[in-house]
């Protein structure tokens, strides 16, 4: 399954890119699995995804908890807790 990843704030800086298309293996079922798998992709990915408890996610532009199944997700964003306003 092909997923468009988006990274924001320090996650984006650690990974070194603002987004990428990935095709994770079948075993990657939910967002936490995806984060663990992404962490193995490069040194930058490793730094960005080392502490999942500091990360938040959105599937197709809706916030989701990290245990949410990816299902038919097309766009997944990983980022720190938001700080707008």
């Amino acid at each position: 399954m092909r997923i468009e990843m988006l990274y924001f704030a320090w996650v984006r800086e650690a990974v070194g890119i603002s987004g990428e298309a990935v095709t994770p293996p079948e075993a990657v079922r939910n967002v936490a699995d995806l984060i663990a798998w992404l962490g193995e992709q490069s040194e930058g990915h490793g730094r960005a995804f080392a502490e999942p408890e500091k990360l938040r996610a959105a599937i197709d532009q809706q916030f989701v908890p990290l245990d949410r199944e990816l299902g038919a997700a097309r766009e997944v964003a990983i980022f720190p807790p938001v700080t707008g306003g």
Binding site: L6, A9, F79, P80, V82, G84, G85
Partner: protein
């Protein structure tokens, strides 16, 4: 009337407040957030999630107009770099009565803080750092969950 705008250009709070006053409402409530010179901050940088941001803000404005009897709601949020004293966010509501306008304005700014995908980075003489989310903001937003 609902108006939501997110962009890199400075916005005029007075023009937005003026638009709210045009609809025949009895009360207008506004909140404007500005860049503070907090502990030597020189520049603030706002990153956001284009597309999702606008949708979330519009959903919040829709929810506000369902929960309170508003004639108008405006949310303006700047992104990109900005300097001390500049406006980051404007939230304004118009209603027949003050209680509705003030509650809806308060709801919008509290929920914007936790629900809209923005991230702030501070630039200081000593370097730059991403601002950490505050538990107090989560608590303030939770007050408005139904």
């Amino acid at each position: 009337m609902i108006r939501v705008e997110v962009g890199p250009d400075p916005f005029d709070a007075a023009t937005a407040a003026g638009a709210l006053e045009q609809g025949g409402a009895g009360g207008i409530a506004t909140f404007t957030g500005l860049v503070r010179a907090d502990g030597g901050v020189s520049t603030l940088e706002l990153e956001h999630y284009p597309g999702m941001t606008e949708r979330v803000l519009r959903d919040l404005a829709d929810e506000a107009t369902r929960r309170w009897d508003l004639s108008a709601a405006i949310i303006l949020h700047r992104v990109g770099p900005m300097t001390v004293g500049e406006r980051i966010v404007f939230v304004g509501t118009a209603a027949a009565h003050r209680g509705e306008a003030i509650a809806a304005m308060h709801f919008l700014i509290d929920r914007l803080k936790t629900d809209a995908p923005f991230w702030k980075r501070e630039h200081r003489a000593g370097g730059e750092s991403w601002i950490e989310a505050r538990a107090a903001d989560d608590d303030a937003a939770d007050r408005w969950r139904e």
